[in-house]
């Protein structure tokens, strides 16, 4: 069926509870299928026909997995993804589910430990026979579960922006790969700020290093200069030395991919050392609204962040999404880039299943190409044949209240290119 018809309509059935009203309040959209009486579709498409591989699908339900860290060091980041995925699933159920079947969630905790992720993925696929898994956050956890998904033929919807250099029939990447996030942002800062020299600083693991490799190549190709490149261990809290170096090299742009709690130290110490981000241009690819909570808006105000989504984005989809998210998870909750990408997963899966008229993984892997979701909070996305999304890139400017003003967005969707030439 067409996925473009996201007109609001009246839901049928369901419990008239306050929660339901809250969900409806911000429901992104209701496709035509929601208008059918519940169960009609399930009867029209018998389970034997839509599920030939013995997944956990019955006439009335389908089981999916959510696999994130709710404990350990990554819980800070992954909590938002879990919340967004549960919101999307609740909304889809509210509209009658997928092919007339209600989604049931089996949630497992990866506990910020990569072998645990692999073990839980195996459990979800082998014992629970889930039809799809929404999960993982770090590249390390994705790399750990990838062989499991390929061996047992599962389908993973992965929400984090990441370094690229990967593609699998069994994974749909709903965040940006590195070239999508980086190139447009660098071009913008060159054009708008006349930047000629860059200082790259990041945490020391694969994502910042790969991202900076791509950034450096792009910068040097255009005849600009990288005046410094520095990496610090995860969790590092002392940035005085590198701040001195930044002062001495006076780069036009500080390009930052410091992750997690280190960000708090980095921005507080920059401010204390007299670097005013309203004068010194700083572009980050790793600070979202989530990190801003810890950093404190007043410490990072003026910095630019380059990613595909900001909570303050103004479009009808996003306004409904933010309202629904806050209704479900509290008025104080914030939504970052990855949280929004997590929300896309269940919706893309639903649309793909309905296009394929089947829950079979092989059919979904093929049918994914060309799936369009016009109800996406980020505006509109399309799935590429390489299982990444076409998406826009945006630049936001940090405000003291912990939100971003969107100052730029690319005119068109950017084609994902997980294997850029010469960057491997």
């Amino acid at each position: 069926m067409s996925s473009d018809k996201f007109d609001a309509g009246k839901p049928v059935g369901g419990l008239p509870s306050p929660l339901r009203r809250k969900l409806l309040l911000g429901m992104a959209a209701l496709p035509a299928v929601g208008l059918l009486p519940r169960g009609a579709l399930a009867q029209a498409l018998p389970t034997d026909a839509v599920n030939t591989t013995k997944l956990a699908v019955t006439d009335s339900t389908v089981k999916v997995g959510i696999l994130h860290s709710t404990t350990g060091t990554m819980a800070i980041s992954e909590t938002g993804s879990v919340q967004a995925e549960k919101l999307a699933i609740a909304q889809i159920n509210e509209m009658g589910g997928v092919l007339g079947r209600k989604i049931e969630v089996i949630q497992e905790d990866g506990a910020s430990d990569w072998p645990t992720f692999a073990e839980k993925a195996r459990k979800l696929l082998v014992e629970d026979k889930v039809a799809a898994v929404f999960g993982c956050w770090t590249s390390a956890s994705r790399k750990a579960v990838l062989p499991v998904f390929e061996q047992y033929n599962g389908m993973l919807y992965y929400p984090t922006f990441y370094e690229g250099l990967e593609q699998s029939k069994n994974v749909i990447y709903t965040g940006q790969e590195a070239t999508q996030q980086i190139l447009a942002g660098l071009d913008w800062v060159t054009k708008e700020k006349g930047a000629k020299s860059f200082f790259l600083i990041g945490s020391d693991y694969i994502w910042p290093r790969t991202s900076n490799k791509i950034a450096r190549k792009h910068i040097e190709m255009k005849g600009q200069k990288v005046v410094g490149e520095e990496y610090f261990p995860l969790g590092h809290t002392q940035f005085n030395s590198v701040i001195n170096k930044i002062k001495l090299t006076k780069p036009d742009v500080i390009y930052a991919s410091v992750v997690g709690g280190s960000n708090v130290a980095f921005y507080k110490q920059m401010k204390a050392a007299g670097i005013d981000l309203n004068k010194q241009v700083l572009m980050t690819i790793s600070v979202t609204e989530d990190e801003m909570l810890g950093i404190g808006g007043e410490n990072i105000a003026g910095a630019y962040a380059c990613m595909k989504y900001f909570q303050s984005l103004q479009n009808p989809n996003n306004e409904k999404f933010v309202a629904a998210f806050k209704a479900m998870w509290g008025a104080n909750s914030v939504i970052g880039d990855v949280t929004q990408a997590g929300y896309l997963g269940p919706w893309l899966w639903k649309l793909t299943v309905e296009k394929a008229k089947s829950f079979d993984i092989d059919k979904i892997a093929v049918a994914s190409e060309g799936i369009e979701f016009s109800g996406a909070p980020e505006g509109y996305v399309r799935v590429h044949g390489n299982h990444h999304l076409w998406s826009k890139t945006r630049v936001g400017r940090a405000r003291p209240d912990g939100q971003f003003d969107v100052v730029y967005e690319t005119a068109d969707l950017i084609e994902p290119n997980p294997f850029p030439k010469g960057y491997q």
């Binding site: 350990g72 060091t73 819980a75 800070i76 909590t79 020391d204 490149e229 520095e230 990496y231 610090f232 261990p233 969790g235 590092h236 809290t237 002392q238 005085n240 030395s241 590198v242 701040i243 001195n244 170096k245 002062k247 001495l248 997690g260 709690g261 280190s262 960000n263 708090v264 130290a265 507080k268 110490q269 401010k271 204390a272 050392a273 007299g274 989530d290 990190e291 801003m292 909570l293 810890g294 950093i295 404190g296 808006g297 007043e298």
Partner: protein, 308 residues
């Protein structure tokens, strides 16, 4: 590695790096002083030291929220109130832990390691339940956020100066308490010979409890100070624990002077290397140096002369 810099630039680099090193030194001393008392004097391996710091940080966070919403006029000075509260909160929890757990484990250092490690996990979970999994933002009064320009290139962050002043003040107080007061004499007597100290009429249980509380209280103050430079989340304490033990062991566990000397050595080495090499390489080299020195001198830089 010096190429590309003029002589004047090198001069200011060393001045700036020296100062950055001094800030790092103060941070190390603050982290390690409390542990030096607990580990060095009492022989308890306290893996929950980082969580006692984070408790201090959360107290600061609560204090800043409370004062800015009730008496905003007091806000510029809230940090001092917060530090005192942090001291008493962490100290009180420390005494409770000593009473409920540690006192059954004296003379069994490996068991204290396990028990306090469990305690650290429990505390992390408590923080997560109470404050949420995400980091909280601690708002600082404006006067703490600026910097003082010494020359064109050298700027000194005010919160760095504040941490240094705090470190000096706490060190002086600890020195006075441990080495110049009757109570400190009692502490040292109990730690060196518990039976004999008890025999001459010192209440050793009370001494133990207050000493442990003092160590934890200092951790709380350190945590309060670190809200200026670091993150405050349920697991942030883990970031500090390795460095803290490194400083204490390297300095010679039983010597407070050793703790200070080792903090100075490690911080200056790291700060200077960080400038000329990359951040990660500097950390590796620092750790390597410490390992080599400990191989040659297992007792640490300084060691008390005690009769064995």
């Amino acid at each position: 590695m010096f190429e590309g810099y003029s002589l004047a630039e090198l001069g200011s680099i060393f001045a700036m790096q020296g100062f950055a090193g001094l800030i790092l030194f103060s941070v190390f001393v603050l982290m390690a002083l409390g542990l030096a008392i607990i580990f060095g004097q009492m022989g308890v391996i306290n893996m929950a030291h980082g969580e006692f710091m984070i408790l201090g940080a959360y107290v600061t966070y609560l204090c800043s929220n409370f004062i800015s919403s009730t008496v905003p006029a007091l806000f510029p000075a809230y940090f001092f109130i917060a530090m005192i509260l942090a001291f008493f909160a962490s100290g009180a929890l420390g005494m409770l832990v000593e009473w409920g757990m540690i006192r059954f484990l004296y003379r069994r250092p490996l068991d204290t390691l396990l028990a306090t490690w469990g305690l650290s996990l429990i505390l992390q979970q408590v923080f997560r339940s109470v404050f949420g999994a995400r980091e909280v933002g601690v708002v600082l009064p404006d006067w703490l956020m600026g910097s003082v320009a010494v020359t064109d290139t050298i700027e000194v962050p005010i919160n760095g100066l504040f941490v240094m002043a705090l470190t000096i003040a706490i060190t002086v107080v600890i020195y006075a308490v441990m080495f110049r007061s009757r109570w400190g004499q009692g502490v040292r007597a109990v730690m060196q010979n518990r039976t004999m100290a008890g025999a001459v009429g010192i209440n050793t249980e009370k001494v133990d409890r207050y000493t442990f509380g003092l160590g934890c209280g200092i951790a709380g103050v350190a945590g309060s100070a670190f809200t200026m430079v670091g993150s405050t989340g349920p697991t942030s304490g883990q970031l500090y624990i390795v460095d803290t033990f490194l400083v204490v062991v390297f300095g010679g566990a039983q010597s407070l002077i050793g703790t200070i000397a080792s903090a100075f050595t490690i911080s200056q080495a790291q700060s200077t290397m960080e400038f000329f090499l990359s951040g990660s390489t500097a950390k590796v080299l620092t750790l390597l140096t410490v390992v080599v020195i400990l191989m040659l001198r297992p007792q640490g830089l300084f060691v008390l002369k005690v009769r064995r």
